[in-house]
């Protein structure tokens, strides 16, 4: 395995972890902020108002980081690689619900979680990139 291949793997692992964690925490905060009918109408003003809720604001910041880190990951990794690998977020969500919210997780949900972990491991065995990157540089 040459150095550039190792570097690509390492970079992919780091960015996948950032994508997973920011997505899970972002969605979680957003969900906390939107509970109890915070968003009462479909008007644009209602959306702007709800963004000042601290939980919603924190969720939006984390989801912005998620979007940017995911775009960076997609600059070299296949979409068909990124999708299953970052789905480990479901597993992290289930663990968070179990540990922090003390929610009961049924056997069926644990089995679903196990399938996601197995699927992610399989996809992780394949190389992150199967198409050539047609761009020539990392900046303008």
């Amino acid at each position: 395995m040459d150095a550039s291949h190792t570097k690509l793997r390492l970079k992919t692992c780091v960015f996948s972890a950032v994508v997973i964690l920011t997505n899970v925490l972002g969605n979680f905060f957003l969900s906390l902020g939107l509970r109890g009918g915070t968003l009462v109408s479909e008007s644009p003003l209602a959306y702007i108002k709800v963004m000042f809720n601290p939980w919603v604001a924190a969720g939006i910041i984390l989801l912005s980081v998620w979007m940017l880190s995911r775009m960076t990951l997609l600059s070299w990794a296949d979409l068909s690689f990124v999708l299953p690998v970052t789905s480990l977020g479901y597993v992290v969500s289930a663990l968070m619900a179990r540990i922090f919210l003390k929610e009961q997780i049924t056997g069926q949900r644990w089995f679903g979680t196990l399938l996601i972990v197995a699927g992610t491991a399989l996809v992780g065995m394949t190389g992150p990139r199967t198409t050539p990157s047609s761009g020539k540089a990392d900046t303008a």
Partner: protein, 121 residues
């Protein structure tokens, strides 16, 4: 608006957004320099890509539709239901983006989809 209409809108816009983002980011080239002084130039270069901006607009639409969905449905329904986009996106990644999805990757993607479905049931 019913929750299933919202799920459909989210799946369609996420699929379109992701395909455009993936194609445009590959066309831009691998990002390899994360020095803060390069971020501005990088953002300016990316902002010139019309289809990338369109992809971000689709993702933004999907995000607001998801916010709306969270107000009419449980988190435990919203997240797995919108994961239906995994199936459409993997197929389109193979046939539109021409990614080489080998049997191991197909098997992995199918396991993930089954897992997500089990979480949703």
């Amino acid at each position: 608006m019913t929750k299933w209409v919202l799920v459909m809108l989210i799946v369609l816009s996420t699929t379109a957004g992701d395909l455009l983002l993936s194609r445009e980011m590959k066309r831009h080239g691998e990002i390899d320099n994360f020095h803060p002084s390069r971020i501005g130039r990088l953002a300016a270069a990316l902002a010139k890509r019309k289809f990338l901006v369109l992809g971000i607009a689709f993702m933004a639409f999907s995000f607001f539709a998801f916010m709306r969905l969270l107000t009419v449905a449980d988190f435990s329904f919203a997240v797995p239901a919108t994961a239906a986009s995994y199936a459409t996106e993997t197929l389109l990644a193979r046939y539109v983006l021409k990614e080489r999805v080998d049997p191991v990757r197909w098997a992995g993607a199918c396991l993930v989809m089954c897992g997500v479905a089990l979480l949703a049931l």
